[in-house]
């Protein structure tokens, strides 16, 4: 099993996706990215690819290749990409030399802000707004990480192969944030947002509960008994999703 490959998949396709919400939820980042109209392509040799598209104040992160990227960042290997995410390596700039200012100055501000929201401390979590953003990012990262694990991690693939067909909704009550996982015969798709009639649901009483459970500070079994976590529907799906969730910290520390 190639651990760096799995980490590369998770970083590129589960972590970066939070940029989409960052430019909406964080006023400073919204202002920073408002005028950006460009795309950044990540290419990893023998690994995943993804791109980020900035357009009219919105950000879209997708797997695969963008048609005409403004910038292409190349990585020699999944390990190279992982090192970059750890701040220990730089990518090779294949295209976008005219965007060096963006790459050197502006884009790092955005990723640093995302990192700020993804690395909570007890003090930061005491802030209501921070808690809301961190919980949203945690749910999004979890959902998209599960999708990636289902693609590249052998144990996760085995677990996914027997999950009941349908949607599992992960939602903080009453109004979100939420994300969904679509299972179909071993394949997994992840999306942000709500779903009206899921096959199963993990419903968290509030942001704090969701945050504590997803960060493994509160055990889900106790939370279910107290009604803080309410599983509904096909419980076998929830059981499997829990196993998949447990695998994320093996690769995203």
């Amino acid at each position: 099993m190639n651990t760096d490959l799995i980490k590369a998949h998770l970083n590129l396709n589960a972590v970066l996706v939070n940029l989409e919400d960052l430019v909406v939820l964080d006023a400073e980042m919204a202002a920073l990215s408002k005028g950006w109209n460009l795309s950044v392509q990540f290419i990893v040799r023998k690994g995943p690819s993804a791109y980020i598209q900035f357009e009219n104040g919105t950000c879209t992160v997708r797997r695969g290749r963008c048609k005409k990227p403004s910038v292409i960042l190349y990585f020699f290997s999944p390990a190279h990409l992982v090192k970059m995410f750890d701040g220990k390596a730089q990518p090779v700039l294949l295209k976008g030399f005219t965007k060096l200012g963006f790459l050197m100055k502006d884009f790092p501000k955005l990723t640093a802000r995302m990192e700020h929201y993804l690395k909570p401390t007890p003090e930061l979590l005491a802030d209501k707004n921070y808690l809301a953003v961190n919980t949203r990012f945690t749910i999004t990262t979890a959902a998209f990480a599960i999708r990636e694990l289902g693609l590249v991690e052998p144990v996760a693939r085995m677990i996914a192969s027997h999950i009941h067909k349908g949607v599992t909704l992960i939602k903080v009550l009453p109004n979100g944030p939420s994300a969904m996982l679509k299972f179909d015969n071993g394949t997994i798709e992840a999306e942000k947002g709500d779903f009206e009639k899921p096959m199963s649901a993990m419903l968290f009483r509030n942001l704090k509960v969701a945050n504590d459970i997803l960060n493994q500070k509160l055990d889900a079994f106790t939370a279910i008994a107290t009604g803080d976590l309410r599983p509904r529907g096909q419980i076998g799906m929830i059981d499997s999703v829990s196993l998949l969730l447990d695998r994320i910290p093996l690769y995203l520390g």
């Binding site: 199963s200 079994f221 107290t226």
Partner: protein, 414 residues
């Protein structure tokens, strides 16, 4: 009907959560009860087919302690035998004579048994069974059925569970239930390497319908195992003595080499047994396997009394008949509300799901509404019927089920 509340259960759980991992762990955890807040967490006492929770709520129990209760809680004959043995001694430096008496009785009772080995839990004897198969064959690999439950030893858990290593699964192969061709392919792909095939007599996975063996399945499996020197093991822990006193293999017409028993074997007293054929007795003897309480005499006395009573009243036939009566009524009541209650498995331990909502949310609500009205039903696991469930319990169950269907109909609409 009045619905229950669980104030004392909740208070006790909060205390428990401080000093016990997840408050209540394992199969009695509230986690699979949906919604958990509609269920009691702690029982204060039990009698016959009923139990009372710490809030004083009374329940007709269709989980039967997840199987061990088979003659009714606090059965007088079983408890008297246990009490009598307790006066003589329980956990002593040497085994009590009751151990020999029980083994002789089981060898006489269970069709394939030439010997019996006692432990405490089902998982003790499923592990011992695969060790015995390995000792007998000199092979490593064990074939299990996907979704089958054989306890919580690392080899028996599904891959990916916390605390389970990939290495724990390295000698475990899995095949789908009823997939004889799949089993044949596995045997061909691992020639001379498979020590045993372990499965339940019929498939009763958690969260899903039970599935009976396809016609000819077991006879073909038996022949394949014989031909390839594979030890055929049945995990009769859950079905045992609820289908046939001679072993559930007799119900389905085949002969395993080893069979595992627990649950109904002693009506709630802690004991399990592995039984086997003469051919495997030496291998079983070579495996060193023991536990501090495995020679406790009280559960052995209880087991002997329970098995004698079950045999006297033909417990399996009684439970199958009462289960059928209960389920026929529930299916009709469901139909009268426009629902389909899909029943599978043996009537003495049926799996029942409302088929009108694939997500099972409606089914979960119905089970919870029944429970809040005094009929304890889980929505994720097969139920159990005991010989103590009489027409009075069945009639009350129908009444409660009827009202619960009305409640869910109102919630979910036509």
């Amino acid at each position: 009907m009045k619905t229950y509340t669980y104030k004392k259960s909740v208070a006790l759980f909060k205390r428990a959560a401080k000093v016990i991992p997840c408050g209540i762990y394992g199969h009695l955890s509230p986690a699979p009860l949906v919604p958990a807040t509609d269920y009691p967490f702690y029982a204060s006492r039990a009698k016959g087919p009923r139990f009372w929770d710490v809030d004083g709520n009374e329940f007709i129990d269709y989980m039967c302690a997840y199987g061990p209760m088979v003659l009714g809680y606090n059965h007088p004959k079983v408890d008297a035998a246990a009490q009598k043995q307790l006066k003589s001694g329980n956990c002593i430096t040497s085994p009590a004579p009751i151990m020999v008496e029980l083994a002789e009785y089981i060898v006489d009772l269970i069709s394939i048994a030439d010997w019996a080995f006692f432990a405490k839990n089902g998982g003790d004897v499923t592990s011992y069974a695969i060790m015995t198969a390995r000792a007998a064959t000199g092979r490593k690999k064990i074939v299990l059925v996907h979704g089958g439950y054989h306890g919580v030893a690392p080899w028996a858990q599904a891959p990916g569970h916390p605390g389970v290593l990939d290495e724990d699964q390295s000698t475990i192969l899995r095949v789908e239930w009823n997939d004889f061709e799949g089993l044949e392919r596995l045997v061909s792909a691992h020639p001379g390497q498979i020590a045993g095939f372990l499965a339940t007599p019929y498939h009763h996975p958690t969260f899903f319908d039970s599935v009976m063996p396809a016609p000819g399945y077991w006879s073909k499996v038996e022949a394949l195992c014989r031909k390839n020197g594979i030890v055929l093991i049945i995990d009769d822990v859950r079905c045992g003595f609820r289908l046939d006193m001679r072993g559930s293999n007799e119900y389905f017409g085949f002969k395993p080499d080893l069979a595992c028993y627990c649950k109904a074997i002693a009506n709630g007293y802690p004991i399990s047994a592995l039984v086997g054929t003469e051919a495997l007795k030496t291998a079983a003897a070579r495996v060193f396997y023991t536990g501090s309480y495995w020679f406790s005499a009280v559960p052995m006395a209880a087991s002997l009394a329970a098995l004698k009573e079950l045999r006297r009243i033909d417990g399996p036939a009684l439970m199958l008949a009462r289960g059928k009566k209960l389920l026929d009524g529930l299916v009709n009541i469901a139909r009268s509300h426009g629902y389909t209650l899909r029943v599978s498995g043996a009537a003495s331990m049926p799996s029942a799901y409302i088929a009108d909502d694939e997500s099972l949310m409606l089914h979960q609500d119905w089970c919870a509404e029944c429970t809040k009205r005094g009929v304890f039903l889980t929505s994720h696991h097969n139920w159990f019927v005991s010989t103590a469930h009489t027409d009075a319990e069945i009639k009350k169950t129908w009444n409660v089920a009827d009202e619960a269907f009305r409640v869910v109909r109102k919630k979910y609409g036509a």
